[in-house]
């Protein structure tokens, strides 16, 4: 009998305004059979610091967060703050 614990990003969603949501699934396996699974979700806003973010999520951020997307998001935030 061998118990293993794995964590993997099983969902990445890129939304219209550049916000990226991702889900990490942590699975406890016994001899290849899943015993339990838990989820941890995170969201990232355009331009946000990516320290500690999984590499495959960072790759999506680097693709989606063009200078235009980041500027548009920051402009929307500035407009919200002054509204």
């Amino acid at each position: 009998m061998s118990l293993t614990k794995t964590t993997a990003v099983d969902q990445i969603t890129v939304t219209e305004n550049g916000i990226i949501l991702y889900r990490e699934a942590t699975r406890i396996m016994e001899d290849g059979v899943q015993l339990s699974q838990t989820y941890h979700r995170s969201s990232l806003t355009p331009g946000q610091d990516l320290t500690g973010v999984p590499a495959n999520v960072v790759a999506h951020c680097n693709t989606a967060w063009t200078a235009e997307v980041v500027a548009a998001y920051e402009a929307a935030e500035a407009e919200r703050a002054t509204a």
């Binding site: 939304t15 949501l21 838990t38 989820y39 969201s43 806003t45 919200r80």
Partner: protein, 213 residues
């Protein structure tokens, strides 16, 4: 025994007990199988199944291609959204990490969420150690985007201590995936600004409730 048409046999007593036997051909040999074992442990493929009476499962049940567990109703890991207003198409629970961004450090930084259909309820507990360059008014990292089409979500503060300012009211609203805190330091009929409320050693517990797209 003389040949008798099936239609000429006497009617059975229903409901069946399950112990009755039927003849079947298995590997070219005619054998018997009980009614109870006719489908036991075997998936039954059907285009549609309508149950006119009540239905119950002694263990778990599953929909949308999910695998049933020991109990409860299982939904698929990736929801298949159904637009129908009377259809429950998703259930998920998990954790999230509320964050002020920047280089803020925390003593406590935990969050949980439950999503039922499009409705998300997320709780968070933050105990800031050193604020540093983090936000003084906004918490990011919400587990799902809020649907802009359905207006601002609801933010409720359950506990706070060591805020950066004295307040007489504290509440908030939601952006797409960020919780913005608003507060009043003096009596007013309208919340007009967002004074900096988070600082080093601030503790705050809050809940947000909102709809996803």
């Amino acid at each position: 025994m003389a040949d008798i048409k099936i239609s000429a046999l006497p009617a059975s007593t229903t409901p069946l007990a399950g112990t009755e036997v039927l003849p079947i051909v298995q590997s070219s040999t005619t054998v018997q199988v009980s009614v109870a074992n006719l489908t036991a442990g075997r998936a039954v493929a059907t285009g549609a199944l309508t149950v006119t009476g009540t239905m119950s499962a002694t263990t778990g049940a599953a929909v949308g291609g999910a695998t049933a567990g020991a109990g409860g109703l299982a939904f698929p890991a990736t929801a298949v959204a159904v637009a129908d207003a009377n259809t429950l198409d998703d259930y998920e629970e998990g954790t999230w990490t509320p964050s002020l961004g920047g280089n803020t450090t925390y003593t406590t930084q935990v969050g949980t969420y439950i999503k039922v259909g499009r409705l998300v309820t997320a709780t968070a507990a933050l105990q800031i150690n050193t604020l540093g360059t983090g936000s003084t008014t906004a918490v990011s990292g919400l587990p799902f985007n809020q649907s802009n089409a359905n207006g601002p979500g609801n933010l409720c503060v359950g506990y706070f201590s060591n805020l950066a300012v004295n307040v007489i009211h504290i509440g908030g609203y939601l952006g797409t995936a960020i919780a913005y805190f608003v507060s009043l330091t003096t009596a007013s009929a309208t919340v007009t600004n967002q004074p900096a409320i988070f600082g080093s050693n601030t503790s705050i517990d809050f809940t947000v409730v909102y709809l996803t797209a």
